[in-house]
């Protein structure tokens, strides 16, 4: 096996059987974080992901490297760990972070604040004082108490029925970029990252798991990856995967829905309280605003979770109570993820621990397989370090962890938007600024593409915006195999028009870059459009419905694509949702969970001597 570059559109394994030190199942932020950590220690790493990187909860969260203030009441450990690691992530990926100042408004009764409400505001302040203790860990500012007038001056869309507000300082991040940059760094340190490869079966010698058989969804090739240790970091899919090896553990998977608005509708992040007392956020995120999230036990289809009518109404109800002007703005889509929350009996969804845990299935008689459960975006690096420490110990590797100091790829070099804007046409400054946010120092080779063909400097996705150069570049260098993968790396089609203007065009660029057949281009277009459509469907109201009508006209009236998409689907046996078209018919069914819970591997403590 040789080291491969992430530029290869084809899978990077050159033989049908390959030996590794560790095989990681799952291309979420945890799996990619573990891959990066292990690869940087010199271990031979393979990562297998059945879909794209950050497809699940890693990409469907609130996009915050926050300190977990929500958990302060009942889970202080998670709050402290989150704040500490938020500080590390700021150091290794400064280009991906953006400050989100929050207002936490407190509603009062319409006839005037009651004593209880005044006491609540005082209590809230004590609560935020407690949180201030952790803020310096993540370069956060302490809270400020605002009168109602001050809060309304800062955020005119707020309900006038507020008693006051408290500020809270947090950090936003592009979770897709965070995951992808971890994967790219892993690949550049020798890891093999196989996206669109699904686990078919574990390879066993006796009871011991010694490898995995995987199948490539694009082409159907099967590969055997052997390793003494297999890490199951498949998020909410974890129990199913463990069961395939004869092990098991339980989760309390929780479905989380967000609604996206077409542009930024508030100046600040706003903390909301739902009808049931749950905390939610309305916050600026990238070029839009998001509001959410829900948290409900979920046992449905993990591969295709959908926002329901009740969930949309529940979120809007909370948002209206605090920010009544929200109905003036245009919802552009929803997104849904399933949290791999740790299992507990008799706890409300909201109160479930956001800590992570590791299960060594050796205790169940299945040595060689370790499952990762729980966790949260802000603590991914910490989780990866703990897992990698354990792997390194078992494999006799003594290299230290470097993931808290070594910059992610985009942070390794200067970022100078002003100079770049002068060097390349000024009218593309916004595109350059957004590219620099996403790719950091690695924007430079993308910008240089426009020297060869100036047309590549033009925006393909106008909403975000994303230039043709960025799209072509990401296809070549960031583990892109399918058209939908481009979206998660560039935010192409994530903006206000939902791909109306750019998806056909991007499919043509993808076809050119990968030399795919026209039929494949149509399949990819169908999958990428459907991925957008299912997110939009629950909120096709007002201007969003009008935009979708134009989207339908663009592709099916003007482009007359429908009969040809169907023909391509028939030709290539695609189900239209971009999944499993080459999955083997004989894939083993998920086995029932074993009655016995496996032993918990205690997480190794975080070294205290780090700044």
């Amino acid at each position: 096996l040789t080291t491969t570059s992430p530029t290869s559109p084809a899978p990077a394994v050159t033989t049908t059987t390959a030996d590794f030190d560790v095989v990681i199942l799952g291309g979420g932020v945890n799996g990619c974080g573990i891959a990066r950590d292990c690869a940087r220690r010199g271990l031979k790493v393979a990562l297998v992901e059945k879909n794209d990187l950050a497809k699940g909860a890693s990409g469907a969260n609130t996009g915050m490297i926050h300190g977990g203030i929500r958990y302060l009441f009942y889970d202080v450990k998670t709050t402290k760990m989150s704040c500490t690691d938020s500080g590390y992530i700021q150091r290794i990926a400064p280009h991906l972070l953006f400050r989100v100042p929050f207002l936490v408004p407190l509603l009062r009764s319409p006839d005037g604040a009651t004593l209880a409400e005044r006491l609540y505001l005082a209590g809230a302040e004590i609560f935020f004082e407690a949180y201030d203790v952790y803020q310096p860990l993540k370069r956060g500012k302490p809270h400020t108490r605002l009168t109602a007038d001050e809060a309304l001056a800062l955020e005119p869309g707020l309900s006038p029925h507020i008693l006051g507000a408290v500020t809270m300082d947090e950090w936003g991040i592009d979770p897709f970029r965070l995951t992808v940059e971890n994967a790219v760094d892993a690949v550049e340190h020798g890891a093999v990252v196989l996206t669109w490869h699904e686990l078919v079966a574990f390879v066993k010698e006796g009871d011991r798991v010694v490898g995995v058989d995987v199948v490539d969804h694009l082409g159907g090739a099967r590969r055997r990856l052997r390793a003494p240790l297999i890490i199951n970091a498949t998020g909410a899919w974890g129990p199913r995967v463990a069961a395939m090896a004869g092990g098991g553990f339980q989760l309390r998977p929780g479905k989380g829905v967000h609604i996206v608005y077409s542009h930024r509708i508030s100046n600040y992040g706003i903390s909301l309280t739902g009808v049931d007392g749950r905390q939610m956020f309305l916050m600026p995120h990238e070029n839009g605003s998001i509001v959410g999230t829900t948290d409900d036990d979920y046992y449905g289809d993990l591969d295709h979770p959908r926002a329901t009518e009740d969930e949309v109404k529940y979120i809007l109800q909370a948002a209206r109570a605090f920010f009544p002007s929200i109905d003036r703005y245009r919802m552009s889509r929803t997104y849904v993820g399933v949290r791999p929350t740790l299992w507990a009996w008799s706890e409300n969804e909201d109160r479930l621990s956001r800590e992570h845990a590791f299960y060594d299935h050796a205790a169940q008689g299945v040595p060689g397989l370790i499952s990762v459960a729980g966790g949260k975006l802000a603590a991914y690096r910490q989780l990866a370090e703990e897992v990698s420490n354990e792997l390194a110990r078992r494999l006799g590797n003594r290299a230290p962890c470097t993931t808290h100091t070594a910059p992610l790829p985009g942070a390794a070099g200067p970022i100078d938007v002003d100079r770049w804007s002068q060097r390349w046409p000024a009218k593309h400054r916004l595109a350059i600024a957004r590219m620099a946010y996403r790719h950091g120092a690695r924007s430079l080779p993308l910008l240089r593409r426009a020297d060869d063909d100036p047309r590549e400097a033009c925006a393909t996705c106008v909403c975000e915006p994303v230039s043709e150069a960025e799209i072509r570049g990401t296809i070549r260098t960031e583990v892109v195999r399918r058209l939908v993968d481009v979206r998660r790396r560039t935010r192409q089609s994530m903006g206000a028009c939902g791909g109306t203007r750019c998806l056909l065009r991007t499919s043509q660029l993808w076809q050119q870059e990968t030399s795919a057949s026209p039929a494949s281009q149509l399949i990819e277009l169908r999958g990428a459009m459907t991925a957008r459509f299912v997110g939009k469907a629950p909120v096709l109201e007002g201007a969003n419905l009008a935009t979708e009508e134009l989207n339908q006209a663009m592709h099916f009236l003007g482009g007359n694509l429908a009969p040809f998409l169907r023909a391509a689907a028939v030709a290539l046996d695609d189900d239209g949702r971009g999944v499993s078209r080459h999955a083997p018919a004989d894939a083993p069914a998920t086995r029932a969970l074993p009655a016995r819970q496996p032993a918990l591997v205690e997480p190794s403590p975080l070294p205290e001597d780090r700044p």
Partner: protein, 470 residues
């Protein structure tokens, strides 16, 4: 484009048309032909400016069969038979389609045919081409697919089903134009067009920058505006000629992005361009925002101006009596009183009949903000025969984007005369008609024949409104 001064808005007309797309403008022209005084209120945008250029009438979307190995759509070059047969198949397949609600199939087909002739006459400057046998053309789109259509302007008339077997079709890529690469379009056309199965070839024809000093990499719309300046079109044609002449294998036909001109190109203008390039050169069907769509709207508005139809850019803010059954008073006393906003100022207009042609969601003829409504008369919006109301939109769409979505068939329910129906399935107003995408029961994007359906409804509603108003 006509700019009507505020003072020219009449205080009373026979027919008020709400909507300045193809259905509304044709309704106005048709009512005017019967001698009516007609006012059109056109809001910006809508579906017609996104029009591809061709008029599909009864493209009943026979599914394309992939050839073995996934290398071509074998049925893509099928013309689908004569117009009347296509209309009959649509009526059979789509029982809620407006064609199916308008009477006997043969009568509807004849009426559709007449409406196409009406369009051809009204906008003759576009140089419409219709096959003598009445069958469809098979035309290439800018996406690289093919589309069946009965009528096509001269500048877009390249019937790929009529090409000789030794044809070599060049797809032109202007380096002055951003966002269009010929190679993937040519490859797609070869595959989906089933051209490979006949041995035809497509080749990309990149043209180096012609306007290096002035170009800012425009869209098709801006590129068309650019070509309209001075001698730019001649320079572009000469550059294209130079490229084609130097190619080792010379294309027999050229397809270019639909950006030759913002002004109409009649048969003589197209012949002159062919002469300049040296190879027959036609425009691909457009995608939104589309230059051919702009050409059609402009052409129809010129026809309106010539015929004496007043077209104003504005918004109908409300119609007196809208939503009140009392407005269905006997003929003599009945007048709709519409409040318009033109150039920001309110104006009241009395009308004997109203044609609602404001489009669906995009045009604003139907509004859905958690509850669906027709904003002017408060008419109910139907989907699959039931009122849409506040039903959850997420439950009215298919799982995949190209599936059949009931939501995009929502709209007004109409009787055979195109009068919209109330909740009791009867028309509450004798003097109100609807045409175009505001009428439900069909999905313009999916059912095929969208432009023809709107043309037909527009002409039909205009005739009905004229009869009612006078």
């Amino acid at each position: 484009v006509t700019d009507v001064a505020f003072a020219e808005v009449p205080a009373a007309v026979d027919v008020l048309v709400v909507g300045g797309g193809v259905a509304g403008l044709l309704a106005a022209l048709r009512a005017r032909r019967d001698g009516c005084a007609v006012l059109v209120v056109a809001r910006a945008g809508g579906g017609t400016p996104s029009w591809s250029g061709a008029v599909d009438v009864a493209d009943d979307r026979v599914d394309v069969t992939p050839a073995p190995g996934g290398t071509g759509g074998r049925d893509a070059l099928d013309r689908g038979g004569p117009l009347a047969a296509g209309v009959a198949r649509m009526v059979e397949r789509l029982p809620r389609h407006p064609y199916a609600r308008a009477g006997a199939v043969d009568d509807v087909a004849a009426d559709v045919d007449a409406s196409l002739r009406f369009l051809q006459e009204a906008t003759a400057e576009l140089g419409w081409v219709r096959r003598p046998d009445g069958h469809n053309h098979v035309l290439a789109t800018a996406a690289g697919t093919v589309k069946r259509a009965a009528l096509v302007p001269a500048s877009q008339h390249l019937d790929v089903a009529a090409l000789p077997d030794d044809a070599i079709v060049g797809v032109v890529e202007w380096r002055d134009l951003a966002g269009f690469n010929a190679a993937p379009v040519a490859a797609m056309l070869q595959w989906v067009g089933g051209l490979s199965t006949r041995g035809l070839r497509t080749v990309p024809v990149p043209v180096p920058r012609v306007f290096a000093a002035t170009s800012v990499f425009p869209t098709t719309t801006a590129f068309a505006r650019h070509l309209d300046l001075a001698d730019h079109r001649a320079r572009a044609a000469a550059a294209l000629r130079g490229v084609v002449t130097a190619l080792p294998v010379r294309p027999t036909h050229l397809l270019t992005p639909p950006a030759w001109s913002r002004a109409p190109l009649d048969a003589a203008a197209v012949a002159a361009l062919d002469e300049a390039v040296g190879v027959p050169t036609r425009e691909l069907l457009g995608l939104p925002p589309s230059v051919p769509g702009g050409r059609l709207v402009a052409s129809l508005r010129r026809a309106c101006a010539a015929a004496g139809v007043v077209v104003v850019d504005g918004v109908v803010a409300g119609i007196d009596g809208g939503g009140h059954p009392a407005a269905t008073s006997p003929r003599a006393g009945r007048r709709a009183l519409a409040t318009l906003h033109v150039a920001g100022a309110p104006r009241t207009v009395a009308a004997g009949a109203v044609v609602l042609a404001g489009g669906r969601f995009l045009g604003g003829g139907i509004v859905r903000e958690h509850v669906a409504r027709e904003p002017l008369f408060g008419l109910p919006v139907f989907v699959e025969g039931e009122e849409l109301g506040d039903r959850f939109v997420g439950g009215l769409v298919a799982d995949t984007v190209d599936g059949a979505h009931p939501l995009f068939r929502a709209g007004l329910l109409v009787d055979a005369a195109l009068r919209p129906l109330g909740a009791d399935r009867h028309p509450p107003f004798a003097h109100v008609f609807a045409a175009g995408a505001i009428v439900g029961g069909w999905d313009p994007a999916r059912d095929g024949g969208a432009m023809g359906t709107s043309v037909w409804m527009g002409v039909r509603a205009g005739a009905a409104a004229a009869a009612e108003a006078r």
